[in-house]
């Protein structure tokens, strides 16, 4: 654990240095660029609040990918599950007449059910026909995208709008701001804590992790891997769906064209850098949302295009992941040498 934290911090710093070199080569000042990045995310109240809201879909899809990968499942369907979840919350928010106390939980449930439906479809295809979820979830992403686009262009289209989007959901379903911070952030934190409890304290979390490390061993040890497989798919789908629902309820309050497009692969990316650890996913989610939020300000103050952040994120992923492997090798070598010396004395 400590090794992971150490190599993670080292990796991020190394990636920032590489990013700085890239900036310097383009004749931008790296220090003022990184300064602006911080200024518009962590160091200002409005930036911090926006950054936390932005972290909601990142962390939740990251948790979804972390749990799936950690359990040995290739669920790459977070983008699709997010979109269907967002659609579920939107439909309930538009048409179900309930008071605020009931509508918000129902909307959230609808979002999670939407995500579960989409990941459950992939799980069902795997169980019934042995279709690999890796390709199925990928293809379902594209199908979900087009389906949602159809839904907001025809049946749910807002006639007053110029581009495809739905009408705003009922105000009862809006998530309010608490002390300048959107309530969706609270749900994200709760979800993270629950996931952490599930994965590191619960029996099923333990069995899932064993399944991720060695499926055969888990089966022989008495885990019902097939049942667990479906459960993991449903839980991870629900998390991604929740991300979509919270985006609609906390943000634009309607399903806008392209919702979730910017977050498409971020969940997978965050799970990858965090090495499927739940706290790691949370912190990298915050880091990436900080970068993405700061990018907007960075573009305003310096001439650096905000797309630079996409490059920086990919550099962080590569350097942290590669660094972890090499550092682990190095640590092992040092430990071996130490042991050897001790045993020789």
């Amino acid at each position: 654990m400590r090794k992971q934290t150490f190599s993670g911090i080292l990796g991020v710093l190394a990636a920032l240095v590489i990013g700085g070199v890239v900036l310097a080569l383009q004749k931008f000042n790296p220090f003022s660029t990184y300064g602006a990045l911080l200024q518009y995310s962590l160091l200002s109240a409005s930036g911090l609040s926006a950054m936390l809201s932005r972290a909601v879909p990142l962390v939740l899809t990251g948790l979804s990918a972390s749990i799936a990968f950690g359990s040995g499942l290739n669920n790459l369907g977070q983008p699709g599950q997010l979109v269907i979840g967002a659609l579920g919350a939107t439909v309930v928010g538009l048409f179900v007449p309930l008071p605020a106390v009931a509508l918000i939980p129902v909307c959230i449930a609808a979002a999670m059910v939407g995500g579960m439906l989409w990941s459950g479809l992939a799980a069902g295809l795997r169980r019934a026909f042995a279709m690999d979820e890796f390709i199925v979830t990928l293809m379902l992403n594209f199908i979900a995208d087009y389906f949602a686009l159809w839904a907001i262009t025809y049946p749910l289209f807002d006639p007053a709008a110029l581009s495809p989007m739905t009408r705003p959901i009922r105000t009862y379903a809006w998530l309010s701001e608490v002390g300048g911070i959107n309530a969706s952030v609270l749900y994200m934190v709760v979800a993270t804590v629950l996931c952490w409890l599930l994965m590191s304290k619960g029996v099923s979390g333990y069995e899932w992790r064993i399944m991720g490390q060695n499926r055969l061993f888990a089966r022989i040890g008495g885990c019902r891997v097939d049942a667990h497989y479906v459960r993991v798919m449903l839980v991870t789908g629900a998390l991604a769906g929740l991300a979509g629902g919270l985006m609609v309820m906390g943000g634009p309050h309607r399903f806008v064209k392209g919702l979730g497009a910017n977050y498409a692969w971020d969940g997978v990316m965050i799970a990858v850098v965090a090495n499927n650890s739940i706290p790691g996913t949370f912190f990298y989610g915050l880091l990436f949302s900080m970068l993405q939020q700061g990018a907007i300000g960075m573009e305003l103050v310096t001439a650096v295009p905000s797309e630079f952040i996409d490059v920086l994120q990919a550099i962080i992923v590569l350097v942290v992941v590669a660094g972890r492997v090499s550092l682990n090798l190095m640590f092992d070598r040092i430990a071996t040498r130490k042991k050897l010396r001790e045993s020789l004395q």
Binding site: F129, M131, D310, V311, L318, A322, V325
Partner: protein, 295 residues
């Protein structure tokens, strides 16, 4: 009859990038690399093709740049997955993300546009008229007058099948995936074979990218590979890498892709017709899985 020709040429247009990328994927598949970076290589290739064609005023140099760009991506893959022993799947995901980020960043940085860049100064890859065969009434329209890359793709398929099954390099390539330890013990460096397979994959993906941006259109749009790399990966897995199988399945996808274009303007909403290639992938995966289960 014009309906038939329209569908036929739409099929070729749709099939070509998938075929090229999938042949590239076949090389790495046989070498035992779980390579999912085709999407990224294709995207970088497409961008570099426009870059080369625009600044050097030549489509040939555009293709050269495109292959060079894809090779750089392959180099990064080699550095991380082969040298530093990072997980291939993670490297592939990171590379794909890197490709999207890099191309949007450079699009903004070099051409100062967002979304898409098009310019009359971009030189497109020309269509080729086949001598003699092109003169024959019906056959002529079927074999002649298509984009040069389409013929290259055909040639690449044949060459790939020959190299993989008939040469000593192909034998080593297959051995690298089948039993790397055995190959090592017979004195061949498996990592070297894997590096070669990645280079070949990059060349194919570079060609696919050049076709995307300089073939039927003359523009680069953000994320213009639009999942084709993933479909080609599915194609490779479905036929276990066999180049002839890849060819057939790419034509099938090309057909459905062409159908998409063809059904635009009909009563069916375009959002549903656009789903067709992805649904087709799922359907073919269904047949593959059911067959494999019975075996």
């Amino acid at each position: 009859m014009s309906v038939f020709y329209g569908l036929y040429s739409a099929m070729l247009v749709g099939a070509t990038p998938i075929l090229l990328a999938a042949i590239g994927g076949a090389f790495t598949y046989y070498a035992g690399i779980f390579n999912i970076a085709m999407e990224g290589m294709m995207l970088v290739g497409a961008f570099c093709a426009v870059l080369g064609s625009f600044f050097l005023h030549s489509w040939i140099l555009g293709i050269v740049c495109s292959i060079a760009g894809a090779l750089v991506m392959a180099g990064i893959f080699v550095l991380f997955a082969v040298r530093l022993h990072t997980d291939e799947f993670l490297t592939g995901i990171a590379l794909n993300l890197f490709a999207v980020g890099l191309t949007t960043f450079l699009l903004r940085d070099i051409f100062h546009v967002k979304g898409a860049f098009t310019d009359p100064r971009i030189v497109a890859i020309p269509a080729v008229t086949v001598p003699f065969l092109g003169q024959i009434p019906v056959v002529g329209r079927l074999v002649s007058g298509y984009n040069a890359i389409i013929y290259v793709a055909l040639a690449v398929t044949v060459v790939a099948a020959y190299v993989i099954f008939r040469t000593s390099f192909g034998l080593r390539l297959r051995a690298a995936g089948y039993n790397a330890a055995c190959l090592n013990s017979s004195g061949v460096q498996t990592p070297a074979i894997r590096v070669w397979s990645l280079m070949l994959c990059a060349i194919c993906c570079g060609l696919a990218g050049a076709y995307l941006s300089l073939g039927s259109v003359r523009l680069f749009a953000e994320n213009m590979s639009a999942g084709r790399g993933w479909i080609s990966l599915a194609a490779v897995i479905l036929v276990s890498g066999n180049p002839w199988g890849v060819g057939i399945i790419s034509l099938l996808f090309g057909f459905f892709d062409g159908l998409t274009v063809f059904l635009q303007g009909s009563a069916i909403p375009t959002q549903f017709t656009a789903m067709i290639p992805y649904v087709a992938t799922l359907v073919s995966l269904y047949f593959y899985s059911v067959r494999k289960r019975k075996a």
